[in-house]
């Protein structure tokens, strides 16, 4: 399709599904205006500066898995257990997040195959309340790991979170040991657990299941760390080094095995799954 016909298709009197609003996206890094379709066809990676954009759970699953995968049911958890309210009610924040997201919370998992290799893939969605980890995320993680145990297959977690779901207070914090119970069970069952660290992966998620994989893969440029940069700056009052807490920086410091461009992610996972087949002894 030519550039002109693409524009024509997107005009109001053309294809009704396309409006000028979503015809273009602006790359958050290089500011280049990109055709949405072209950008999405490129896996939401900027063709000009290679910025890896944030993507939702369904898009991620489609990119990684063979067609025909089955979504695991969204977990049912106590909603707003603390009756939390800041400037807004937590229940209203949840409602707003659900209005613009097909899922009920920030972690969605599916069972299927990656290039013929059986796997459960769990995806944390930054667009849902910053991917923050609350009981729903924790339970979805636990259920996905349990599915891998039941199917005796690999578990791949794609992480992305700004931090804890503060509106769930301590119950958010408790997801760290809860998820770790499951990564231990996978390990004991001899099943591979692979983490794909997407932008951004910070706080309690990093300090639990994101750092306990057999293999850690980071997406290019992803922000990955424990403490927030502002908190670090306020504590030490020093300039942060160039590229601090970025995927490449973590690779250099030995925290991730590899930095893999999104277009090679699927084949990389398939290759790893081929090597790390579930141990027979366990």
């Amino acid at each position: 399709m030519s550039w002109l016909s693409r524009v024509r298709n997107a005009l109001p009197w053309g294809d009704k599904r396309e409006t000028p609003d979503n015809l273009w996206v602006k790359c958050p890094r290089c500011q280049e205006m990109l055709f949405t379709r072209e950008y999405e066809a490129n896996l939401s990676v900027c063709p000009r500066c290679d910025h890896h954009g944030r993507i939702g759970a369904d898009t991620r699953l489609e990119q990684l898995m063979d067609p025909g995968y089955i979504l695991l049911p969204d977990p049912v958890v106590a909603e707003d257990p603390l009756k939390f309210r800041d400037s807004k009610r937590y229940t209203d924040r949840l409602k707003a997040a659900r209005a613009s997201n097909p899922h009920r919370d920030a972690f969605t998992a599916a069972f299927g195959e990656i290039e013929g290799e059986k796997a459960v893939v769990g995806v944390q969605d930054f667009t849902f309340m910053g991917g923050s980890m609350g009981m729903a995320v924790g339970n979805a993680f636990v259920a996905a790991a349990q599915k891998a145990l039941d199917e005796r297959c690999a578990y791949i977690a794609v992480t992305a979170a700004g931090g804890a779901r503060m509106q769930e207070g301590i119950l958010s914090l408790m997801q760290m040991p809860r998820a770790t119970v499951m990564t231990r069970r996978l390990k004991e069952a001899g099943l591979p657990y692979i983490v794909v660290l997407a932008d951004p992966t910070t706080g309690g998620v990093t300090a639990s299941y994101a750092m306990l994989g057999d293999v850690h893969i980071a997406e290019p440029g992803a922000l990955i760390g424990f403490a927030g940069q502002r908190v670090i700056q306020e504590t030490i009052r020093e300039q942060l080094p160039e590229g601090f807490q970025r995927a490449e920086y973590l690779h250099k410091h030995g925290m991730v095995d590899m930095v893999v461009p999104r277009k090679e992610l699927r084949e990389t996972l398939a290759k790893l799954l081929d090597y790390l087949s579930p141990a027979q002894a366990a």
Binding site: L171, R184, G204
Partner: protein, 331 residues
Amino acid sequence: MQVAPGPVSAIAMISYLEFEKPVAAIEAKIAELRTAAGEDGDVDISPELARLEKKSAELLASTYASLSPWQKTQVARHGARPHFRDYVQHMFSDFTLLGGDRLYADDEAIMGGLATIDGRKVMLIGHEKGSDTESRMRHNFGMGKPEGYRKAIRLMEMADRFGLPVVTLVDTMGAFPGIEAEERGQAEAIARSTEACLALGVPMVAAIVGEGGSGGAVALASAERVLMFEHAVYSVISPEGCASILWRTAEKAPQAAEAMKMTAQDLMGLGVIDRIVPEPVGGAHRDPPAAAASLAQAIGEELDALAGKDADTLRAMREERFLAIGEGLAR
């Protein structure tokens, strides 16, 4: 070796918290009266003294019976509150300090060693905040670095091999946020430490004695029995941090403390902790030996209840304990 005893906080040096001002006024009057009586032995001040002491004790008790979450946060952070070294001195008949992660350094924000509590041999690990400028700097205010958590992992694994129960004393505002801590894998160290707790085949009892700050606390508190001092706090983020993110000003910290449900009483209700350990009236800092005795009794009872359970049972207890959190809440 025997570790040097930590400085004992003296009541005479007490610094009053804002909400203790009415108590402070009465106690000042009592002190004044005593001084005056000392100078002039002829006047019988005992009726007045008894009246004031009764009044002050009642006021202290009623104040501490109804502390708000924010007030408890201040008590938990009180400069004179006993810390790891104080508990070592008052609760353990022996303590042999062990140091280093064998990888990088010895982090004194997290201390650990072989200890004996009422005849029971254990591996004791905990955060130490320090009690004066020099020691606070040395212990980095109790904010552990990766090497501190890796030392904890090493000691837990050793305890497991030698059948020693693990006791942890949790008291940190959080793991240290710094460039080098990030470079050396703060997140990985915390995750592995949590994993090491869960992997133990020996009993583990964790006590939140002051501040249980976020992941830096969880890393030492993923035990089958989690105790908490009556006025300690345990939360996913500090009230100031929560307020500055959700209310956009740290000044709303009291509201954030309220909303986050971070007191021992709240956490008991949520099934996050298993037992509340009483503190002396007026908080642990008023009487550290009494606080330590209370804690020693609770830890002793928990260790006795866990004694004799095999490794698989203990691990299963721990796993089920955490998996069950939140499951009983109304949906």
